[in-house]
Symmetry: C2
Subunit: 299 residues, 2 copies
């Protein structure tokens, strides 16, 4: 495998690496100001050429990009690959935007309600995680990628077979900022978080449980500073309690968390409170592994 | 029962009536600009005396007020009555802010998650509905009062025994305005609403079902103008599917809707799609009946 420029180019951030022939990281840089949501229409190619390539001294290298850069907001719209899909399938569906620059397609599948569900970027992390250990190529794995739009995915024998998106992160953000539950306090209180996880029950009737985040403050005298943690626990608790069944997975099945480490730790805590075991993998490492595995399959 | 001035004084609106000795409405006026959320601290008494009484020519009459006027934002904070409670209990707990002006206390109960739940104003409508027909004084009734914070209440033998607040209306508002699901279109498409009710399943895993409101547009090509109806159906569908069980009521039990007629009709539609029968009572009539019944018990 020759050296290449690997980019995880998402909505709010761009992470770029130069991977050498041996697979070692020779350069690494983040560009939060180049997140897809901040790009002007049509300028992705120019900024890639004028800013990203020079910053990593990667002018002559082939490049592989994954994430929202393949969406309407990005460089160009890359059609979704359909589930089930694998690293081999994705490698065969890379989309060339320049002779030496390819974008990994996002993935779609029939969603849990019938409408289609979609992801862009997480597929590379999920299948990248699979590629990190040969033992993961067999059997079934339930994966959760927390975030604004969390992705729960089922991997069977190395193939991404189905997934569901949970809007938990966005629910937390809008309720915390715009609703009667609004609070400026930063989360960090584990006891209030655990109280919220408990209040989530089995993930049923979420809208009828949410108001308790206010009742415990105004009627029960709990400290207002714990409202954000309680709300976080309630939302994450409802998500981890209710989502596996939507994918046909039995309650209590272990969960592989992939993503931001701080956020994964809160999910791990919620799962643990429900007696569910989990492991955490840094999303950055998974993305890099996925891009390297895809590049290797095209070389 | 002597004539009196009845006010349903809520967060966003104030409805006032003069009820004559025979119980007939002699005057009626709404004051949307006097909703509790628009009052300056400490000015409720003055505006009641200078604007409300004169507008209804009710200067000399005793007055009975219900709603958020008894909250921190209102005239004064009236302590909550606790469930179970009845019209007799509330009549005995009226709070005098002036010798001839009383406020109906709100009601609290242990909420479905353990934290306390609260209402102010709906108790008068719910028990007012009970008072409208002697047959309602016996047996069990499951009542839903839709709104920003919908109240689901259980009335047994004329007593409000338990309730739960569902933040459905506020979830709809914040998601529609501030999230990736935002849309400016007004609801009104019954087919998209029904699609949302179906997508709500049994009210489980709501956050993992919400994203379908986007998937059906961006991946399935459904008209963007139907997004608000689908979201409304999904949220109301999840509420009506999941909330009765939280109050210990079996699935399929008939529901008495009380409140805004247009909103009640959407709830009735969602219930009907689930095979649940319901009846609708105008919240204004119920409030008036409740205030009259309370006044009658103090006369």
């Amino acid at each position: 495998m020759g050296a290449f420029l690997a980019c995880d180019w998402g909505t709010t951030n761009l992470r770029a690496w130069v991977l050498g022939e041996s697979g070692s990281v020779q350069a690494h840089k983040e560009f939060p100001q180049l997140g897809v949501s901040r790009l002007q229409p049509g300028e992705a190619a120019k900024r890639f050429r004028d800013e990203i390539r020079p910053a990593l001294r990667a002018e002559g290298l082939p490049a592989l990009l994954c994430g929202m850069i393949g969406s309407t907001l990005g460089w160009t719209v890359v059609p979704y690959d359909r589930c089930p899909t694998s690293l081999e399938d994705l490698a065969g569906a890379l989309h060339a935007v320049l002779p030496d620059v390819h974008i990994v397609p996002g993935v779609s599948c029939p969603g849990v309600t019938g409408a289609s569900d979609v992801m862009r970027g997480e597929e590379t992390q999920i299948l990248g995680w699979v590629s990190m250990d040969p033992a993961r190529a067999a059997g079934r794995h339930l994966i959760c990628h927390p975030g604004t739009h969390a992705k729960w995915a089922l991997v069977e024998d190395g193939r991404l077979v189905r997934f569901a998106t949970a809007m938990t992160g966005e629910l937390f953000a809008v309720l915390r900022k715009h609703s009667v539950l609004r609070t400026d306090d930063e989360p960090g209180d584990e006891a209030a978080f655990a109280e919220g996880v408990e209040a989530a029950g089995e993930g049923d009737a979420l809208s009828s449980r949410l108001f308790s985040a206010r009742g415990r403050i105004v009627a029960d005298g709990k400290p207002a500073g714990t409202a954000a943690d309680y709300l976080s626990g309630l939302l994450i608790g409802a998500e981890v309690a209710g989502t596996p069944a939507l994918l046909g997975v039995e309650a209590g099945a272990p969960v592989q968390l992939i993503g931001d480490l701080a956020l994964c730790r809160w999910y791990r805590q919620a799962l643990s409170l429900r007696g569910v075991s989990s492991e955490v993998c840094d999303g950055e490492e998974a993305a890099l592994a996925g891009l390297a595995a895809l590049h290797g399959r095209t070389a």
